[in-house]
């Protein structure tokens, strides 16, 4: 047993039960927090009303982050929760109901920029941007971070049971294009991810996909389907841990969590490369407290605050200063922070309005075949 134990504490993260199922998370307002800070009504140092509305994923903040912020700034944070990006987008497309800070994933940041739903950030008000690892500043979905600040990131890869493998796992092949592990494979039930990673396996960039490539991936997946046990709802780590399957397409953070419970599990980013995802802090258009929002984002990017958040949510952090404060069992974990050469061949998937419906149709055909 070591200090790495804390990773096993919280199995319930935002990508678990709530998210994959499309269960509408009822916005829970933590009104009780007002007891901690300036109990509303007052004026914050930013000159705005001392309150802030934060729209976040479930279990995606440090245990005392909001109280600490209320204490240091006098701004009370009301947090409500969403379960999927689609829910967030659907809510904002009908007009901002008063949210100041939201946490969309990278492709939705792009989609919201295109839909003119995000406010431009004033970097002068976010000095803690210097804490961020530079590789997370120049990202294709928001060059120079004009609209978003990175909060966490994830990489897709293969989680597998070591003792059940017939050889080393270093390619997408056993998952997408082989009957070697028939009936022992679970893939993610996300049309876009499946088509893009299939294309990546076939040697294409996840952002160079054409209808011909989609057709090719579709044919490959239909051929592979008899060997697939199920398309999981982002609960792949549970399927792997319970012995239901031996190979699973999942996020590195999720597999890192179960590796603390079972020594026989490992994770790899295949040699063909993979897809990165990242959740970001943004200010939606029409936010009632934009200055408070900047102060809050700046606070979340603080090294000490970032460390506490990371300890609670156990996701890879883009915050280099916070990572430096974490124990080596976290910072040097090759699953949470995969080797640089593998990271170099991973890409963010750009949002593509015209391809998304084609992905969905292809996935429907794969499922119906």
């Amino acid at each position: 047993m070591n200090t790495f134990e804390f990773l096993g504490q919280s199995r319930q993260n935002r990508r678990s039960i709530l998210q994959g199922l499309g269960v509408a998370a009822v916005g829970i307002s933590f009104g009780g927090l007002t007891a901690c800070g300036d109990s509303g009504g007052g004026t914050a140092s930013t000159g705005e009303e001392a309150t802030l509305n934060f729209y976040n994923w479930d279990t995606y903040i440090g245990e005392t982050t909001l109280e600490d912020f209320a204490e240091s700034s006098g701004i009370t944070v009301n947090m409500s929760l969403f379960a999927t990006n689609d829910e967030l987008f659907a809510k904002l497309r009908a007009g901002n109901a008063g949210y100041d800070v939201i946490v969309p994933s990278n492709d939705f940041v792009e989609r919201m920029i295109q839909s003119d739903l995000l406010e431009e950030l004033d970097h002068a008000l976010i000095p803690n941007i210097t804490n961020i690892d530079p590789t997370f500043i120049e990202v294709p979905y928001d060059m120079g971070r004009k609209f978003s600040m990175p909060y966490t990131w994830l990489a897709l890869g293969i989680g597998y049971r070591k003792s059940a493998m017939k050889g080393p796992i270093d390619s997408w092949k056993p998952l997408f294009d082989s009957n070697e592990y028939a009936g022992k494979i679970a893939l993610l039930s996300e049309a876009g991810d499946i088509i893009r990673l299939g294309a990546k396996y076939l040697g294409h960039s996840v952002n160079d996909i054409t209808p011909d490539i989609i057709a090719e991936v579709e044919a490959m997946m239909i051929k592979q389907k008899p060997f697939i046990r199920t398309f999981h709802e982002d609960n792949g780590q549970d399927l792997l841990l319970s012995g239901e399957v031996d190979l699973v397409l999942e996020y590195n953070g999720d597999i890192a969590q179960i590796m603390t419970e079972d020594d026989d599990i490992d994770f790899v980013i295949p040699k063909e490369g993979s897809q990165l995802n990242s959740d970001n802090l943004c200010i939606p258009k029409g936010a009632p407290h934009p200055l408070n929002a900047h102060a809050f984002i700046n606070n979340l990017l603080d090294a000490e605050v970032g460390k506490k958040i990371t300890e609670a949510i156990l996701y890879p952090t883009p915050n280099a200063a916070a990572k430096a404060l974490m124990p080596p069992e976290y910072a040097n974990n090759p699953v949470i922070f995969p080797p640089a050469d593998r990271m170099a061949i991973c890409e963010y998937a750009a949002f593509n309005e015209t391809l998304q419906p084609l992905y969905e149709t292809a996935f429907t055909r794969i499922r119906a075949a």
Binding site: L21, S115, G183, T230, P357, E360
Partner: protein
């Protein structure tokens, strides 16, 4: 006898709230979705109601009709199993003593107190490879197997767990589990009103139990059976959580496709067209059933 028609003010007062509710929270939203089904996406966030039928044309593609047909088969199988299992249960409750009846009914309704999602997860814990079902069967296999050599038979091999989860069996099992109360309650309501002396008469006149059941009880309980079929079949047809969680790679049902249109695909018009096709089909089925029953009444 006072007729409600003579107390119009009273009637209006009572009807106002439900009418308001139905109009604003059911008919109008549904109407908007219906309009979407004739719309086109003009941008990421806007839909223009252009009066196009292209969404319906796309929904009638063999791909989607095939999925719809499969969903109908799954829902039909669920309904049939629910009748076969639910009828004896309802009958047993009907003939139970008055002291026991409320407890038995409570037992039927108790699962409703737990969220569907939680019940589905519980089912996963039972059905999975190392779940309770396989553990119990494995225990029986090992213990009974060790007795076989005593009666001169060879000992069986190690227990190979059955694949109970992530296939169509699991989906139908899950749907039956969830929808059984919907079948039992209307059946019970119909059977409870049944004049028991008719059953006694049938038995006295020489009909067997099975024949009495088929020719006396079933026709008299027909309204309950039909409403049970409708309120089991319709939600089973629209199920999406159960196939998502319990199903295998090909256990996709039409509601899963609809869900994806409204979420990931961001194609609300097409999703609306798909859901209204489902609704038209349901309306036609109910209208057909109503027509049949009117014909049957006319013949009597």
């Amino acid at each position: 006898m006072e007729n409600w028609k003579s107390a119009k003010a009273m009637f209006a007062a009572v009807a106002a709230v439900p009418t308001f509710w139905l109009t604003f929270f059911f008919i109008i939203p549904l109407g908007i979705v219906w309009l979407y089904s004739f719309g086109t996406n003009t941008s990421l966030t806007e839909i223009e109601i252009s009066g196009t039928f292209s969404n319906y044309a796309r929904a009638l593609d063999p791909l989607y009709l095939g999925i719809l047909w499969k969903s109908i088969l799954v829902a039909a199988a669920t309904t049939v199993i629910c009748i076969v299992v639910g009828f004896p249960v309802a009958l047993a409750i009907t003939f139970a003593s008055d002291k026991w009846k409320p407890w038995l009914l409570l037992g039927i309704m108790l699962p409703f107190w737990t969220n569907l999602l939680i019940r589905t997860y519980a089912l996963m814990a039972v059905l999975r490879r190392e779940g309770y079902a396989n553990q119990s069967l494995g225990w029986l296999h090992d213990n009974l197997g060790s007795l076989l050599p005593f009666i001169g038979l060879p000992a069986p091999g190690a227990y190979e767990p059955m694949e109970l989860l992530y296939n169509n069996f699991a989906v139908i099992f899950g749907l039956v589990y969830v929808h059984l109360p919907f079948m039992v309650l209307p059946l019970y309501a119909a059977l409870d009103r049944l004049d028991k002396s008719l059953i006694e008469a049938s038995l006295d006149l020489g009909a067997g139990h099975f024949r009495t059941m088929l020719t006396i009880v079933a026709p008299l309980a027909a309204p309950g059976i039909i409403s049970g079929i409708i309120i089991t079949f319709v939600p089973a047809l629209g199920a999406y959580l159960t196939p998502d969680l319990l199903g295998g790679p090909d256990s996709q049902m039409i509601a899963n496709v609809i869900e994806r249109q409204f979420k990931r695909a961001n194609d609300w018009p097409f999703g609306a067209a798909l859901s209204f096709i489902l609704m038209y089909a349901t309306f036609i089925a109910i209208a057909f059933q109503a027509m049949k029953s009117r014909q049957a009444e006319a013949r009597q």
